[in-house]
Amino acid sequence: MLGIIITVLLMIIVATVGRSHFNAPQKFGLDVVGKGQYVVTRIMGGVTNIWSSYIALWGVRHENKLLRTELDKSILSNQEYREAMAENIRLHKLLGFKDSLKVPTITTQIIGRDPSLWFHTLTIDRGTSDGIEKGMPVVTVEGVVGQILETSRTTSKVLLAHDQNSAVNALIQKNRVQGIMKGRGSQDYRLQYILKNADVASGDIIVTSGLGGSFPKGIPIGTVSKVTKSKRGMFQNIEARPTVNFSQLEYLIVILKQNSLVD
């Protein structure tokens, strides 16, 4: 039996040697093996693909994390840069304005705001130890902010000019007509005691008059927004918009005086 098998195999080997084409058994074997190879290759390919994708995903995830961190840092540094630029411009303006004032001044920062619905005050980071006293005027580059209401050693409370309890001696820049700028509690003023025969129109600039010795002369307070003349009374009803945006205040200048304004 073994001799028969060996003989058949030798016959097949001899028959295939030197042929350029596969015979039927070879083709069948190739088909079968090929199918198996195909299946294994597909499985291996799938596994390899999944593995490489997983590894790649891991890498991408890690890279994404790194890039996000870098992006956050960049955004933060960009914001800081912008903020520093804005602060630099603001302080530059403030310094220029401070230098232009002939009276001694001190720069302060706002540390607190009045949460009340009824009053408009601020707390600043300078007090009596810095020479601040009650009644001193508080200004900024844009104009009048208010005046010192209370002081402690290291902090002070500022009454804003648009509070109902605030009043500043003022004049209309173009014709030097004098009046009193009163706060209304809202975001605007009322210029009082301007006679009906005075020439006042919307857009006129109102500045401090220097009377009373509290504020230096010529600091902007507001711009006339509405003028009405009622039939009764001697005076015009004049509304004005502040030159200062009270909601965007950060740094302020307190104008120091040699003598106390309020005793």
């Binding site: 705001r113 949460p115 009340s116 619905l117 009824w118 009053f119 005050t121 707390t123 109902q164």
Partner: protein
């Protein structure tokens, strides 16, 4: 319940209200958790300690806000007395009453401030604005429940009786059972 934890809490809240909250966007800058604390004190603390606390908070508020010294202690004390008077016939400590109570208390306080300042300085009339008031009411209503829970939690935590109970709390189970 000792006053010290409430004093610390209220002081912290006022500092936040005057420094941090104004930087919040829109209506959130008008959050007033200190006012809710005052109403909470008026409901849950006895009248003597409540008066001490409300006067203290009023004085502190006077320092940081407003221009008339003594205005807020009077207003808060009046509020305390009104709430104490009302809490006898009504069950104000129940949670459904919290928001209406806080809102109506704010309206009462606003009216009181308006009347007093008008009497003190008739030439400087305060600007009464219903829209601004309604925004305040809304913001108060929004935070009242959360604030009341937090203040209750604080009150229970810092209550010496509770602290003592925690310290001398017996261990579970019968250790002598064989």
């Amino acid at each position: 319940m000792p006053c010290a934890p409430f004093i610390i809490l209220g002081t912290g809240l006022l500092i936040l209200q005057t420094s941090l909250f104004p930087s919040f966007p829109g209506w959130f800058s008008q959050l007033d958790p200190l006012f809710v604390l005052i109403v909470f004190i008026a409901i849950h603390i006895d009248i003597i300690r409540g008066a001490v606390l409300t006067i203290y908070f009023g004085m502190l508020t006077d320092i940081l806000t407003g221009i008339y010294s003594g205005l807020h202690p009077i207003v808060y004390l009046a509020l305390l007395l009104v709430i104490k008077g009302l809490s006898r016939p009504l069950v104000l400590s129940e949670s459904p009453h919290q928001i209406p109570l806080v809102v109506s208390s704010y309206l009462f306080t606003s009216c009181f401030i308006y009347i007093i300042t008008s009497a003190l300085a008739p030439e400087t009339e305060l600007l009464w604005s219903w829209p601004a008031l309604f925004i305040r009411f809304f913001m108060l209503a929004l935070i009242t429940t959360a604030c009341f829970r937090f203040y209750s939690f604080s009150m229970n935590t810092f209550n010496p009786k509770n602290a003592l109970q925690i310290l001398i709390k017996p261990k579970h189970g019968n250790r002598f059972r064989t």
